[in-house]
C-alpha cells in the first residue's frame, strides 16, 4: 500500500463505507473491505471525511439486516467486529434481507447539511477503534507466543499471589524433579557394571571406608573415582549420612550393584537436596541480579524457565548425576562477579572446578573476564586485583587438594588424582557424541584410523581447535575491557554469558573426550540468555532450538536409561512453558527456517525409530542420524554466539567515543572519517556520567548494552541533531534496528 490511491478510489471506498455505515454496520461490503483492507481503509476514510462531505449518493438504497453472529460477551474483545474476520461470503449471502426495505424510500439518515458534525465524530470514533483493533491485533500476535509461564505469572500477580510465585515455582520444580526421579536411572538392572548411579553410590562407599590416599587408586576398573576432590568430599558426607540411616547401603565391596528402593530414595533425595541448596538459590540470585532492571514478572518468568530446564532435570534427576552442583557454583560465581565480588566469584568458580573438571569449559571465559577487569582497572589497581585473584585462586586450590598434598599424603596421591581427573588416554570420543569429531568421523574421514598410534597429535589438534573456538570470546572480553579502560563501571559483564556460551560450546565441539551429557554446559548460558527474552527475539529462537536439540541429542542415552516417558513429558512441559512450539512452521528468518527444518527432522527421526528397526549392519543407525541432526545446530549456535559476542562487545567498546578522551583521540584522524568525527567540544560530560551512574545496577542487566547503545545514539541524534551522528547511530544501532524490524515482520504464518 505504498502507492497512494487515486482520488477516485478514495471516494469510492469512502462512499462504500458510508453506505455500509448508514445501512448497517455489519453488512457485506464493510465486512469485506474491513477485513481485507482493515486499518488502512479506515484511516483513508477518515482523512477524506474531513475534506469532503458525505455525498448524497451515499444514501442507503436498502436496509440490510445485520448478519447474525455470536454474542459479544462471548468474544474476548467487543471490538472484534471491526476486524470482521468472522464473515465469509457464504455467510453474508445467507443473511436475511427484508423484502420491504429494498424499495424503501425513507429519507436519508444523514442529510448532507447536518451530517457533517455527527458523521465526523463517528468517523473519528471508528478511526480510533480501528487503531485500537490494529494495536490489539499486533499485541495478540505478540502474546500468542508468550508462553504458559508468562500467563501463569501474570495470573498469579493479578490474583494477589505475587509473593507466592517464587515458593510455588520452587515447590513445583521440586515436585517435577522428584517425579522424574520416580523413574528408572542410568544402569538400572544392568550388571555387572551398571551405570552412573552405581558410580556415584560406589564413590560414597569408597570414600567412607578408605583413607584419602586410596580414593583415586582403589579398584579403578570398577568405577574408580575420576572427579575432583570436592565430589569425593560430598560423596563422603552423603555416604556418612546414608550409612547412618542404613549401613548395608554402603558396605565396602558388599554393596556393589545394590538397587533397593530405600537406597534409590536416599540417592534421589541427596541430588534434590544438593540441588536445592546450591543450584536453586543460584538461579534465584541470577534472576535478581542479572535481570534487576526487568519487571518482577519477567524475573519470575525467567526463574521458572530456568528451574524447569529439561536437559538438566533429565540428566540429574533421571539419569542420575550431580551436575547441578557444578553448574550452581559456576552460576554463583558469575552472580558474584556481577555484584562486584570478584574474589568470592573466583573462589566459587574454583569450587565448581573442584566438583567436576568439566567446569573447565567455562574457564577461558571466566579467566578472560577477570583478566579483562584487571586491564580495565589500569596498571595500579589492576595489578593489585590480579595479585589478589592469583593468590586466592591458588590458595583455594591448595585447600581443596590439601588432603592429597605432602603433609597429609605423598605427592604421588596428587599425581594419581590428576591422571584420573584428566583421562587423555581414553580416546578422542567415547560414545556417539554430537560434536565435531564424531560428526566428521561419520561424514568425512575416520580420525581414529588416520591417527592410529599418533594420539598425542590428535590431542594437540583438538586443543588447537578448541582454543581457536573460544578465542573470539576471550579476545572480545579483553578487547572490550581495554577499550573501555577507566570508564566508571565494568562494561563487559553483559558479554560474559555470550563468552561462556562460546567457550563451552567450542569445548563441546572440539575438545577431547566429550560426553553427550557435556552439552549441559553450553546449554546453561544459552538458557540464561533465553530467560527473560521475549519470544520475538533472536536469542529466544536460538535458545529454544538449542535446548530442544540438546535434549534430543541425549535421546539415545535417555532411551537406554528407560527415561523415554520422562523425555517426552519434559519436552512437552518446557516447550509449552516458554511458548515454543516445535510444530510451528516459520520461514521469515534464517533461524526460524532452520529450526523448522531441524524440528521436522527430529520429529521424523522419532517416528522412524518407532516404526523401523535398524538393519543389523548398522545397529547404531539412529544415534548416528541423531548426531547428524544435532551437530550442525550446535555448530551454528557456536557461530551465533561468536557473532553476538562481537556485536555486544562492539556496542560496549564503541561507546567511549562519546566521552571526551575518545573524542580527542579520534579528533586527530577525524578529518578523513566524517562518520566518526567528533561533534563539538561542548560535550555534556556530566550528563553522560549521570546516566551511567544511575544506570549502576542496570549496566549489569542482560542485553542492556544494546539498549544503551541505542539510547546514547538516539540522545545525541535528538539533542544535537548533527548529521555526523547518523553514522554512529547506523553503526551501533544497525543490528538492533534489524532486530526490531524482524519483530515487526515476524508474522506467524
Amino acid at each position: 500500500m505504498d502507492v497512494v490511491p487515486e482520488d477516485a478510489e478514495y471516494s469510492e471506498i469512502f462512499t462504500q463505507n458510508v453506505r455500509n455505515r448508514t445501512a448497517s454496520l455489519n453488512s457485506t461490503s464493510l465486512a469485506s473491505t474491513a477485513s481485507f483492507q482493515n486499518t488502512r481503509t479506515l484511516r483513508l476514510r477518515s482523512s477524506v471525511a474531513s475534506m469532503r462531505g458525505i455525498t448524497p449518493e451515499a444514501e442507503p438504497a436498502e436496509i440490510v439486516s445485520p448478519v447474525p453472529r455470536r454474542h459479544l460477551s462471548h468474544t474476548s474483545e467487543s471490538l472484534s467486529w471491526l476486524k470482521a474476520g468472522a464473515f465469509s461470503d457464504v455467510d453474508s449471502q445467507a443473511r436475511c434481507i427484508s423484502p420491504l426495505s429494498a424499495a424503501s424510500s425513507t429519507p436519508s439518515l444523514f442529510p448532507p447539511s447536518s451530517s457533517r458534525q455527527l458523521s465526523f465524530s463517528v468517523l473519528l470514533e471508528q478511526e480510533k477503534r480501528a487503531r485500537v483493533a490494529a494495536l490489539r491485533r499486533t499485541q495478540s500476535e505478540d502474546t500468542m507466543d508468550q508462553g504458559a509461564v508468562r500467563r501463569c505469572v501474570r495470573w498469579m500477580h493479578k490474583h494477589n499471589m505475587k509473593g507466592w510465585v517464587v515458593p510455588c515455582a520452587i515447590a513445583a520444580s521440586t515436585y517435577v524433579k522428584w517425579c522424574i526421579g520416580l523413574g528408572s536411572y542410568s544402569g538400572y538392572g544392568t550388571p555387572p557394571m551398571f551405570g552412573d548411579y552405581e558410580a556415584q553410590r560406589h564413590w560414597m562407599e569408597l570414600t567412607i571406608h578408605l583413607p584419602v590416599q586410596q580414593w583415586y587408586r582403589y579398584d579403578l576398573q570398577y568405577w574408580g573415582l575420576d572427579y575432583p576432590p570436592l565430589t569425593a568430599y560430598v560423596s563422603w558426607i552423603c555416604g556418612k549420612i546414608g550409612s547412618w540411616i542404613e549401613p548395608s547401603w554402603f558396605g565396602l565391596d558388599t554393596s556393589r550393584g545394590l538397587e533397593t528402593p530405600g537406597n534409590k530414595l536416599f540417592m534421589r533425595a541427596s541430588v534434590i537436596t544438593l540441588d536445592a541448596l546450591i543450584y536453586v538459590p543460584a538461579l534465584y540470585a541470577f534472576t535478581r541480579i542479572w535481570h534487576a532492571t526487568r519487571s518482577s514478572r519477567t524475573q519470575h518468568a525467567a526463574l521458572i524457565t530456568l528451574l524447569f530446564h529439561p536437559a538438566l532435570l533429565l540428566i540429574d534427576f533421571g539419569h542420575f548425576q550431580y551436575n547441578s552442583v557444578m553448574l550452581g557454583f559456576m552460576l554463583l560465581a558469575i552472580n558474584a562477579f556481577a555484584v562486584g565480588f570478584d574474589l568470592l566469584g573466583a573462589v566459587l568458580f574454583v569450587l565448581s572446578l573442584g566438583f567436576k573438571q568439566m567446569s573447565l569449559y567455562y574457564a577461558p571465559a571466566i579467566g578472560a573476564y577477570l583478566l579483562g577487569k584487571c586491564i580495565f582497572l589500569g596498571s595500579k589497581k589492576g595489578l593489585k586485583l590480579f595479585t589478589r585473584l592469583a593468590l586466592v585462586t591458588t590458595f583455594s586450590f591448595v585447600i581443596l587438594f590439601a588432603p592429597f598434598l605432602p603433609p597429609f599424603s605423598p605427592m604421588s596421591t596428587l599425581a594419581a588424582s590428576i591422571s584420573r581427573i584428566f583421562p587423555f588416554s581414553r580416546g578422542l570420543f567415547e560414545d556417539k557424541v554430537a560434536n565435531f569429531w564424531c560428526f566428521t568421523n561419520v561424514t568425512v574421514l575416520k580420525w581414529r584410523r588416520l591417527f592410529d598410534g599418533k594420539e598425542s597429535l590428535l590431542i594437540k589438534g583438538s586443543a588447537v581447535l578448541t582454543t581457536l573456538g573460544f578465542f573470539p570470546a576471550v579476545a572480545g572480553l579483553l578487547w572490550g575491557c581495554y577499550k573501555t579502560q577507566s570508564s566508571p563501571s565494568t562494561p563487559t559483564l553483559p558479554l560474559l554469558p555470550y563468552a561462556l556460551l562460546t567457550t563451552s560450546m567450542s569445548f563441546f565441539l572440539f575438545s577431547f573426550q566429550v560426553h553427550e551429557k557435556s552439552i549441559l554446559l553450553p546449554l546453561l548460558p544459552l538458557t540464561l540468555l533465553l530467560s527473560g527474552a521475549s519470544p520475538s527475539e533472536e536469542v529466544f529462537a536460538w535458545g529454544t532450538l538449542g535446548n530442544t536439540v540438546g535434549v534430543f541429542s541425549m535421546w539415545p542415552l535417555l532411551k537406554k536409561d528407560g527415561l523415554g516417558i520422562q523425555y517426552v513429558a519434559m519436552l512437552l512441559f518446557w516447550c509449552r512453558l516458554i511458548g515454543y512450539s516445535p510444530f510451528r512452521v516459520q520461514f521469515n528468518s534464517f533461524v526460524h527456517l532452520f529450526s523448522t527444518v531441524v524440528n521436522m527432522s527430529m520429529i521424523l527421526l522419532h517416528l522412524l525409530e518407532m516404526v523401523v528397526t535398524p538393519p543389523a549392519r548398522y545397529p547404531d543407525l539412529f544415534p548416528v542420524l541423531n548426531i547428524l541432526v544435532s551437530t550442525p545446530v550446535f555448530g551454528l549456535i557456536w557461530l551465533w554466539s561468536i557473532k553476538r559476542g562481537i556485536q555486544v562487545s562492539w556496542a560496549i567498546a564503541g561507546l567511549p567515543r562519546s566521552r571526551t578522551e575518545g573524542k580527542i583521540k579520534l579528533a586527530k584522524d577525524g578529518a578523513h572519517d566524517s562518520d566518526n568525527e567528533p561533534a563539538s567540544t561542548t560535550v555534556r560530560r556530566p550528563e553522560v556520567e549521570g546516566v551511567r551512574r544511575d544506570a549502576g545496577m542496570r549496566a549489569v542487566s542482560l542485553g542492556y548494552a544494546s539498549g544503551r547503545a541505542v539510547l546514547y545514539a538516539g540522545e545525541d541524534w535528538g539533542t544535537r541533531g548533527g548529521e555526523r551522528w547518523r553514522g554512529c547511530r547506523g553503526e551501533l544501532g544497525a543490528w538492533r534496528w534489524k532486530g526490531l524490524q524482524a519483530n515487526d515482520d515476524g508474522v506467524v504464518f
Binding site: 455489519n26 468474544t75 517425579c179 528402593p261 513429558a569
Partner: protein, 683 residues
C-alpha cells in the same frame, strides 16, 4: 405502566394490528396493553426477551443504570461504540430519548411497578391471539426465564441460544421467522405443538453457510432434546476470531477452539501424569488388569462368576463393557495383559497401557469442564474452578497413582450436571443412569437426582404431573438399564450380579477406615472397651468384638461394647438425614439447590453409609467445587472439606517415594485454588 399504556392507546386502538412485536420493556408494555386489545381480532404477538418477573435488587440495579443514563447523557457515537450491532439510527434515537426523558419518570417506571411481575397479564389473553416469547440465552442474559412461562401453555417460549438481550440485532432473522410463524398459525390455523420449547441450535461454525437452526422434532414421543448432539456443541460458543483456512494454526495446533490457558492446564497435567507412570500403584491396578483379562478371554456369561483371581469383577456391566473395549487394543500391545492366569503382571507395557487409558478417558472430564466454562455467568472464575477440578489432587492420588478411573466417571457425572444446568433434564437423567451402570457408588447421589428430576422435569411448577415427560424419562432410564443389565437378566444371572455388586458381608468399615461417623463410633467402642477392662463398669463385652474391629482386613466389624450396626441401620440413618434437604429441593427445584442437594447426599452417605471407602469423599468435593465461588459460606465449606478430604486420602499412598509427591502437589494446588477464590468471594 398504566400511564404508558394510556399514552399509547390512541395509536393502538385506532385500528387492529395483525402483528405486534415488543422488545424488553416494550414487551411488557405490550402485555400491559392486553386489556385494551380487541379480543376477537386475531393478533400475533411476539415478545422479545421481556422482563416478565424480576427480583427487587435487579430492578434496583436497572433503575440505577437507566436513571443515570438520563442524567449523564452520552452522545450517539458513544452508544455506537458500546453497541456495535446497533444501527446509527438507533443510537441517535437513544441519545434523543435520553435527552428528552425525565430521570424522575424513568425512576418512576421502576418505582411504581413494585414488585416487578407482569405474568398475570398472560392469564387474560384471548384465544384469538398467539403469543410467542423469544428468550435470550440464560448464560448471557437473564431477563426472561423459561420457567416463568411454564404455567401458561398457550404462550410459546422460544429459546435462542447465544443471544443476548438484543435478539433483534443479533439474530434478526429469528425474530422475523418467529413473527411470521406466529402469524401463519393465525392465518392457516395449523397448530404448532404448543408446549414445545424451541431451541435454535447455535451456528456451529463460522463457515457454516446459513445460520441453520433446527426446530426440534415435533413428534411428541421423541425425547425433546434427543437430536441435539451434545458433543458437537461443545466448544461453539467460544468461537475464535476466524483465521483464514490456510492459517496453520487452524490445522496444525488447532488451539483456537480453546483458550491458551486451557491448553496449558491440559498439557501440564498430562506431563505430570506421564511422569507419574513409574510411581507406586495399588492392588486396584491388578484388579483392573484382571478385569481386562476376564472380559477379554471369557464369554459374557462367565464374567460375574470367574474367581481365577481374588479380584473378581464387582462393577456394573457398563464398566465391564468398557473394560472389554479396552482389552482389545491391549491384546495387540501385549497379549500377556489379557492372559487370565497371568496374575500380578506389572510389566512396563501394562503399566503404560493402563495408565494411558486413565489419562485418555479423562477427556470426558475435560470436555465437561470446558463446557462448564463456556456457559458460565463468569467464565473466568468457572475456569479456575474447572481447572481446579481437572487438576484435583484427589484424582491425581486415586487415579494416577493409586489407579482407578474416577476422572472418567466424574466426567460423566459432570456432563449430567451440566445438562441439568442447561435445562436439558432428560439428558441429565439419562447420563446419570449411564453413570450408575458404570459404577454403582454413585447411588449415593441418586436421591437428589430422583427428587430433582421428578419435581422439575416431570411436574409443572404448580404440582401437576406431566405424564409424557415422566414416561419419556422413565423409558430412557429403563432403556439404559436394559442395555446394561439386559444380557445378564436374559441368562438369569441377575442375583449373582447383585451379590457381586453389593457385598454387605464386607463390614461396616473399609479396610482403611473412611473418616466418617462409624470410624468415630468404632474408636469410641475401643475406648469403652479399655474402660470396661480397667474399671469393670458392668458393660456387656462381646468377646468376638474384642479381637475384631477391622485391622486392615476386609471383614465384618463387630463392636465389643456398643451394639453392633447392621446395614439396615446405616441405610435408615442416611435416608433420614437426606430427607431433610430433599424436602427443600422439592420445594425449590432449581439448579443451585440441586447442586447443594447432590453435595449433601454425597456427604450423608459418606458419613453414615455402609462400608464406605475413603475415596468416596470425591463425591462430596466434586459437586461442592461447582458452588465454591458463590459466596463466602460456600467457599469456607469448600475450603475445609477440600483440605480435610485431600488429607484423608493421603494414607492411600503409604510408600515413602510418593510422600513428597502427594504433599507438594496438594499444597501447590491448595494455594493456587484457594487463595484467588478467597479473594474473589470476599469481593
Amino acid at each position: 405502566m398504566d400511564l404508558i399504556v394510556e399514552d399509547l392507546r390512541p395509536y393502538l386502538s385506532a385500528r387492529n394490528y395483525d402483528l405486534i412485536i415488543g422488545h424488553s420493556l416494550g414487551g411488557v408494555t405490550v402485555m400491559s396493553f392486553f386489556p385494551h386489545l380487541s379480543q376477537s381480532h386475531p393478533t400475533a404477538i411476539v415478545l422479545v426477551d421481556p422482563p416478565l418477573q424480576q427480583g427487587a435488587e435487579r430492578i434496583a440495579v436497572k433503575d440505577a443504570i437507566f436513571s443515570a443514563s438520563c442524567i449523564n447523557i452520552k452522545d450517539a457515537s458513544a452508544y455506537l461504540a458500546e453497541n456495535p450491532l446497533w444501527a446509527v439510527k438507533d443510537t441517535i434515537y437513544r441519545e434523543l430519548g435520553t435527552r428528552l426523558a425525565d430521570p424522575e419518570a424513568v425512576h418512576g417506571i421502576y418505582k411504581r411497578n413494585q414488585p416487578w411481575n407482569f405474568l398475570h397479564h398472560f392469564e387474560k389473553t384471548s384465544t384469538e391471539w398467539k403469543v410467542t416469547v423469544l428468550i435470550s440465552d440464560p448464560a448471557i442474559q437473564q431477563t426472561c426465564f423459561i420457567d416463568d412461562l411454564q404455567p401458561f401453555p398457550h404462550v410459546r417460549p422460544v429459546h435462542v441460544p447465544n443471544a443476548g438481550h438484543w435478539i433483534q440485532y443479533e439474530f434478526p432473522e429469528i425474530v422475523v421467522e418467529e413473527a411470521l410463524k406466529t402469524s401463519y398459525v393465525l392465518l392457516f390455523g395449523f397448530r404448532l405443538i404448543s408446549r414445545e420449547i424451541h431451541h435454535y441450535s447455535s451456528p456451529s461454525t463460522i463457515s457454516d453457510p446459513a445460520p441453520s437452526y433446527s426446530m426440534s422434532n415435533s413428534s411428541p414421543s421423541s425425547p425433546r432434546y434427543a437430536q441435539q448432539s451434545t458433543m458437537q456443541e461443545d466448544k461453539t460458543p467460544e468461537q475464535p476470531k476466524a483465521l483464514p483456512w490456510h492459517h496453520p494454526a487452524r490445522w496444525l495446533n488447532g488451539s483456537q477452539l480453546v483458550t491458551r490457558s486451557e491448553v496449558d492446564v491440559l498439557l501440564f497435567s498430562t506431563a505430570v501424569k506421564l511422569l507419574l507412570f513409574p510411581s507406586y500403584h495399588s492392588t486396584d491396578f491388578e484388579v483392573h488388569r484382571n478385569w481386562l483379562a476376564i472380559t477379554y478371554s471369557l464369554p459374557i456369561s462367565q464374567w460375574y462368576y470367574d474367581t481365577t483371581s481374588q479380584w473378581t469383577l464387582d462393577y456394573p456391566p457398563f464398566f465391564a463393557y468398557f473394560e472389554k473395549l479396552l482389552s482389545i487394543p491391549a491384546s495387540f500391545i501385549d497379549p500377556q495383559i489379557v492372559d487370565l492366569h497371568n496374575l500380578n503382571y506389572d510389566a512396563w507395557s501394562v503399566v503404560v497401557y493402563q495408565r494411558s487409558t486413565v489419562i485418555l478417558s479423562e477427556i470426558v472430564l475435560g470436555t465437561a469442564l470446558l463446557r462448564f466454562i463456556r456457559g458460565a455467568v463468569d467464565p473466568s472464575w468457572q475456569r479456575v474452578l474447572s481447572a481446579s477440578l481437572f487438576l484435583h489432587p484427589g484424582f491425581l492420588i486415586i487415579d494416577h497413582i493409586h489407579f482407578q478411573y474416577n476422572g472418567f466417571m466424574f466426567g460423566i457425572l459432570l456432563w449430567s450436571i451440566l445438562m441439568a444446568r442447561e435445562g436439558r433434564k432428560l439428558a441429565s437423567g439419562l447420563l446419570f443412569a449411564v453413570l450408575l451402570n458404570f459404577k454403582h457408588i454413585y447411588m449415593y447421589l441418586a436421591p437428589a437426582y430422583f427428587v430433582y428430576l421428578l419435581r422439575s422435569h416431570c411436574m409443572s411448577p404448580s404440582g401437576e404431573i406431566l405424564p409424557t415427560k415422566f414416561i419419556s424419562l422413565a423409558n430412557a432410564v429403563i432403556l439404559v438399564f436394559g442395555a446394561s443389565l439386559g444380557p445378564f437378566i436374559l441368562i438369569g444371572q441377575l442375583p449373582q450380579l447383585v451379590s457381586r455388586l453389593f457385598p454387605f458381608t464386607r463390614g461396616l468399615n473399609h479396610a482403611y477406615w473412611a473418616p466418617n461417623a462409624w470410624a468415630l463410633v468404632t474408636v469410641m467402642d475401643r475406648a469403652l472397651l479399655q474402660l470396661a477392662r480397667r474399671f469393670d463398669a458392668g458393660f456387656v463385652v462381646n468377646q468376638q468384638g474384642v479381637v475384631s474391629t477391622s485391622r486392615g482386613l476386609v471383614g465384618d466389624t463387630t463392636f465389643a461394647v456398643l451394639p453392633t450396626v447392621k446395614p439396615i441401620h446405616t441405610f435408615a440413618i442416611t435416608i433420614a438425614f437426606q430427607v431433610m434437604f430433599l424436602v427443600k429441593l422439592w420445594r425449590t427445584p432449581n439448579y443451585k439447590s440441586f447442586l447443594t442437594a447432590l453435595t449433601l447426599c454425597g456427604y450423608t452417605s459418606y458419613m453414615f453409609g455402609w462400608h464406605v471407602h475413603e475415596k468416596a469423599i470425591l463425591l462430596v468435593l466434586v459437586p461442592l467445587s461447582l458452588l465454591a465461588a458463590d459466596d463466602y459460606a460456600h467457599f469456607k465449606t469448600y475450603m475445609i472439606a477440600s483440605v480435610s478430604g485431600i488429607f484423608s486420602l493421603f494414607p492411600l499412598l503409604f510408600t515413602p517415594s510418593e510422600t513428597l509427591v502427594k504433599i507438594v502437589y496438594s499444597l501447590i494446588w491448595g494455594l493456587m485454588v484457594l487463595r484467588p477464590l478467597q479473594k474473589q468471594v470476599y469481593e
